[in-house]
Amino acid sequence: MHRFLRLSFMLMGLLVASGSYAADTQKPTLTTEDDLGPQVTQPIEFPHYRHAGLKNPDDPTNSDPSKGGMEIDCQYCHTYARRSAVAGIPPLQKCIGCHQNIESVRNKPRIVELFKYWDAKKAIPWKKVHDLPDFVRFNHERHIKRFVEQQNRPTQEACGYCHGDVKSMTVARRSKSLAMGWCASCHEKNHPVTAEGGTPIGNQAYWYKFQKPVVASSDGVVKAQGPNDCWHCHK
């Protein structure tokens, strides 16, 4: 038995030497830095600023729809996000639902293009902008439930945590790194969950931390710190 133990320690030593790569990357780099993704060319240059932007950025009281945006809630079109782990892309039918009644822009090039797809009953081959590795499973529904439904934060703010200021963009462009360290940086911030709208279940405090238990803060609020094991996102 004793000999066996020594052997295994020797093996361990070997590993420490050869496994330095693993040792170096033991933890993802925590970062909150923005990281701008590449400009993506879409089949139709969808103007997010026109749909979701403020009605008039310079003068909030001016509501002339021909200027500025229309302040449409993200969830009006992106309805799947609150109902599913994946956000999906709105069906073409959604675009047409409104646009068939908006004669004023019917002849604009993008709208003409849009109706070409509709008439042919063809799906628009949108390019993926926020692409995670295939072994990463982000849950949209959970985040919207928490931030929008339970904490009543504005949709654009909640979506913006990961998607950036989409209302100012034409076609969306990735503005956060979406790397694991970036996710973790947010999850290691202390989000009070027993505040109104929270859902404490059991005695979860410990497990809501990547490694060690958090001491309850002085105000007695239990801090939740996001997913507690790798299998939440990688499975």
Partner: protein
Amino acid sequence: MIDSSSIKQLAGHPFDRRDFLKVLGWSGAAVALSGCGNTSIENGKETVVSYVEAADYVIPGVAVYYNSTCAQCDAGCNINGRVREGRVLKLEGNAASAINRGKMCGLGQAGVQHHYNPDRVREPLLRKGDKGETISWDKAYALIAEKLNGVSGEQVAFLSGAVSGHLKVLLGNYLESLGSKNLYVYEAVAPAVQRAANKKAYGTEMPRFNINKAKVVLSFGADFLGSWVSPVHFSQQYAQFRKGVDGQRGVLVQVESKMTLTGANADRWLVVRPGTEGILALGIINALGASGVTLSGDVAAAVQGYDKARVSNDTGVSVEHLDKLVALLKERTPSLVLAGSAAEGYAHGSQNAAAINLLNQVLGNVGKTIEASASVPFPQMIPAKGNTAALKTLNDDLAAGKYKVLFTYATNPVFTAPGSMKFKANLAKAGFKVAFAHYLDETALEADLVLPLDSALEDWGTQVPEYMAEGAQINIQQPLMEKLHANTQGMGDILLTLVKQREADKYKDFADYYGYLRGSLLTIKGALGSGGTDDDTFWDETLTSGIIKLAGSAEQLSGNASAAGLQLPAAAAADAQYSFHLIPSVTAYLRDGRHTNQPWLQESPDPLTTIVWDSWVEIHPKKAAELGIVEGDVLEVSSRTGSIRAQAYLFPGIHPDAISIPLGRGHEALGRYAKGYGVNPFQILDAVFDQETGELALHETRVKISKVGQRIIVVKDEGAAGGKPEQRRIALSKSTDQVKLSEEV
């Protein structure tokens, strides 16, 4: 679940479905690259296809479930298909089903691999010499019409697997329109002898067996946990039976010459000399009589002479076991005695079955554990039951060159006909052969015209199970997804088109088979117990549930408890030249081999031998030692009809005078996962038939074996220890006197 308006949308306009079932991109299922880093992030490169139109309940990332019916065997389990982004991913059981109650066997689950199979036929093919040439459906239909022109009804035949429901109705109508009565319903592995024996003994071909109500089940080779009649249903009954009636655990005794999956679960597995099952049954009756059970005069006369010593000598079952069994049957009632294919596969199979059924009468089980089953009140939809006698008649007719046009559907006789029939050669004598096929199987390869079929997961249909679990039911089969291949058609649609060629007027109201199905079911809505509901509601509810349940008509069993005509031959004498009985075994997943091209089934180890991807010859270790055979020796197995070669596997669960080779493998066609794996024992079966029913006696072939001098490694799952736990506490057992089952949760 699904709301009714969307079902209407689904159902009414099959082509609308294409739009909203568009795949949304399925990156989640793509390769997970190992290692960290953002290696698979390709911003702006991957396309995400969105829906053009989507029903409210279709949400990317959220599965939708549709109810339908399993088509992998005829048991008629109701399934629940999981559909994501327009693709069917998994088949699960429908919990509302009386047959399978939410459960599924492996064969059923592999239905998705039938649907997505890369070897499916995709285009109509017309024979040009040795090759098939793609033609259009219009041309194919025109060709059929042309070939039928001037041909009389007697010169046309249709060979089909078991069919029921509206497909059977349409098939009947089509043949009628051709003036033909030549419908041959052929199933290579079917309980045909049993149906006849049950009809005699109980007055109905397929009564309901209540394994869960029995305290003792004595099964003569009925593999009810594996492949017999309705295995998923019986498996659930079996689980209840083990939990016990009144806290007393049910006892299973299995009598057979080769251990089946059911035998492997028996409390007592009794090996009998092949073919002597009936003798044992009569011996038990005799012993019961001797122990005080009242026997009627003719029964007593029939079993006279079947004393313990003689029976033990004939069957090989020891007197001690016989005594214990008789005591058990006498003490614990009700019991249930089952006759399975292993007892019926002999020239005297019907007699064996009669003797076994008589045992139920003597034990008073009829009416208790054997009850009348309910039937669907529409005779035209009741299943056309397959058997092998039909094939024999067809084969004789083909040999005589009787048929100018032959259709084949859902059966593969070139593969499954016993070699002695020379079916392939006789088939060539038919004038024009049309095969409706999913794969280019052995039979389709002989055809002049091959018409590709939709899979069961993309087609409409109704199915009536032969074995009814509770009340009666009609199963609905509906598409779980958009058609995978543009140029396949549903069998119903094909038959409708064909029948329209003959009687266009009669069917002009039906645009397609879906319309025919809907129309037909609506006309009998009242009889289905939904007279008060409006058409659309009825239809939506029917599709949502996938089952139409009917109150069972309270039939009475009217059996014959007498032993009149029961005449068992003496135990078969040894054959000096062909010294082994060949037991072609029917395995739960491969059956007659029609699904062998589904890789899950090929790689699913045989439960008893754990062998995968190949055939084997089971031989008893003692016999093997006598003959100097070890595992992996390639054996030549020769019958009077032919010979095949396969690896030896030493298997303790077989009579030393028998060897067993599983059916289902040894395809020369069918597809990449089936072709070239294993051997086909159908090829060497002798033409021996049951004397009463004319069924092929599957177990009557005698063979001799010899080593060919080659040894291969048997590809199997069991470890080097050959399945011995070697003193470790792994799979533990207790006997009933050591446990208190009634105290368990």
